[in-house]
Amino acid sequence: MSLIEIRDLTKVYQMGEVEVHALNGVSLDIDQGEWVAIMGPSGSGKSTMMHIIGCLDIPTSGSYILDGVDVSQMVESQLAAVRNHKIGFVFQAYNLLARTSAIKQVMLPMQYSRDGSRVPRAERRERAEEALEVVGMADRINHRPSELSGGERQRVAIARALVTNPSILMADEPTGNLDSKSGIEVMEVFHRLHEGRGITVVMVTHDEAISADAERVIRLFDGRIERVDRNGLRSEVESQKSKVGIPAQLMSDVGVVTPDKGSERC
């Protein structure tokens, strides 16, 4: 059983008269401990898909099973709990609270933990310090966002995503606002977490160099999975629309599940 099982996911935005089909039937499995990169042109639905996987948004149709639980049937409060302890989300724009020290930013998610995943108050500070240590920010715990460089802000954001020990770390263009040096530092943090702790990483990027680190690269186009590259076996799998002749065996090998109706394109 995969950690993430997505079937026929669609997302339609109603913009007045016009329907925007941001996702057009995406099916995908991601295993525990995998590193998956999502690429594709602007507007191809990468962020939309990330938000649904990250339980920040709900699909228009299709099913999403996370860790054996059907998330697409969950109500708001259950989704909030899943976001809190199963998922760590890193945004391109950091999304740190203004006028708040790094340590407090990182302690924030624990404040919202309930029941089983609850961290005793006395341990929260220590946990936050550990998380900041992991991202190399131990010497900046009292800095506010305005006193941090871009790369440092993003590392604080990663520490915040990390502090509740989620099984999945999701990042939507985490280096998009950074210069290449800071970007490399941030990517080193992801590598440490992935290799050291075996954390599952799902990351959107426009940078081919960064996607080269991934074990699998999902390429989206117009709300569909156009192609999946795996461990240097680039272009081994053809796009879904022209998958004629590709053995089903190979398809499932690379984790792409072919939906029955996935062959016609709208």
Partner: protein
């Protein structure tokens, strides 16, 4: 339990952080509540002070006194007709008869005439109270100079001056023996009066100020200063004061007076009284009802300012929610429940209104003290006004906090994060 207290303290901290992040805005919001609460407390304590003062004045009248006055609700054309002329000398005689009102110790008539008092170039308006010598005993009046007129003075052109009247006309000079003129406002006649006495200062009373009146024998007032005869030719009175022998006999005396006067006025069983008998307890009730209304009215005015303050809170909360939409989105993204967000914003509203309420109490009490300094009224800060103001400000905080807080809490994390 400890965890819950800790959680509460944490939400207070989060809310305080939010408020301190924008000190000026929080202070201005609080100002609305401060002004509202202060106004409620100041106005209500002034109202309570006025009430206490009036009550004390009525009590100082003496608890045994009953006052009989004409009543306009009486039947016209019988016993001298209703209204002003319904109480006559016959009634006085009947009430003075111990066989009729056995529990009365003193019966004192009054007939007042308003007019101008003139001495040399000075003149001003006074009320000339025609009464008997017992009036002095009734109100325990002290005489500063000369003496109060006696029963032998009946019909003589003599007058006793209240202390203010004497001071205004003669200053420190002792006027006893001098003559003044009284120009009646009702008859237009001018009568010369010899001053036989000056009263000591009594201080204000709410009904008629002794200090600002002059006192003349009853006959003099009824026949010389004015024509007190009604349409049937009977001499009338404005009021008869009856003193009961004790507090316990006030009620029997009240009944006795009513019985005597109804018989005297030939009223049928179905007729309304053409007179009123007022005693102190009834008067207190009436005045308390009036001052209660006054206090409620003042409270309502103050309540409006409190309401305006509450709308200020709501406005700020709405602005704050809009301004912090991205923060709300982030909090929800990392797992905050709708109730967490709701609670945080509600807490901010409650802290604002509680703190504002507390400062408002201090300011309101201070304003009451300032009013005391003017010496006009002594404000009385009541617990109920404090409870009302604080309860109201918390209610306002909750009421006006819930809407924006709920708006904030129901945003989807993605929508909120995308907000610009």
């Amino acid at each position: 339990m400890l965890t819950q207290l800790g959680d509460l303290w944490e939400s207070v901290r989060v809310a305080l952080d939010g408020l301190l992040a924008n000190k000026m805005r929080s202070a201005l919001t609080m100002l609305g509540v401060i002004i509202g609460v202060a106004a409620v407390i100041a106005l209500m304590s002034i109202g309570a002070g006025v009430q206490a003062e009036i009550t004390e004045q009525i009590s100082s009248l003496g608890t045994n006194i009953l006052i009989v006055i004409p009543s306009s609700s009486g039947r016209v054309g019988n016993g001298g007709g209703g209204g002003a002329g319904s109480i006559t000398m016959d009634d006085l005689d009947a009430l003075s008869d111990p066989a009729n009102v056995p529990d009365a110790s003193l019966v004192v008539p009054e007939y007042s005439v308003s007019g101008q008092i003139i001495y040399g170039d000075n003149n001003f308006s006074v009320s000339a109270v025609g009464t008997t010598a017992e009036y002095q005993a009734l109100y325990e009046l002290g005489v500063a100079s000369g003496e109060f007129f006696t029963a032998q003075d009946g019909g003589d052109k003599v007058a006793v001056l209240g202390s203010n009247v004497a001071a205004d006309l003669f200053g420190d000079f002792d006027p006893v023996g001098l003559k003044i003129k009284f120009n009646s406002a009702t008859s237009g006649q001018t009568t010369s009066l010899k001053i036989v006495g000056v009263l000591e200062e009594e201080g204000g009373s709410m009904f008629a100020s002794t200090d600002d009146s002059i006192f003349v024998p009853l006959d003099t007032a009824q026949t010389r200063l004015a024509n007190a005869r009604n349409t049937l030719g009977a001499l009338t009175l404005n009021r008869i004061s009856v003193v009961a022998t004790s507090e316990e006999t006030v009620a029997p005396v009240n009944d006795q007076i009513e019985g005597v006067l109804r018989a005297d006025h030939d009223l049928d069983l179905t007729d309304d009284d053409d007179f009123s008998v007022i005693n102190q307890a009834e008067m207190l009730d009436t005045v308390t009802a009036v001052t209660d209304t006054l206090t409620v009215f003042l409270g309502a005015i103050a309540g409006i300012s409190l309401l305006v303050g509450g709308i200020g809170i709501m406005n700020i909360m709405l602005v704050s929610v809009t301004e912090r939409t991205r923060e709300i989105g982030l909090r929800k993204a990392i797992g905050a429940q709708r109730s967490d967000i709701l609670f945080q914003f509600l807490m901010e509203a409650i802290i604002l209104s509680l703190l504002g309420g507390f400062i408002g109490i201090l300011v309101g009490v201070g304003m009451g003290q300032l009013v005391n300094l003017t010496g006009m009224v002594t404000s009385v800060v009541t617990l109920s006004s404090i409870a009302l103001a604080v309860g109201f400000s918390v209610a306002i905080g909750l009421f006006f906090g819930i809407y924006p807080a709920n708006q904030a809490a129901k945003l989807s994390p993605i929508e909120a994060l995308r907000y610009e």
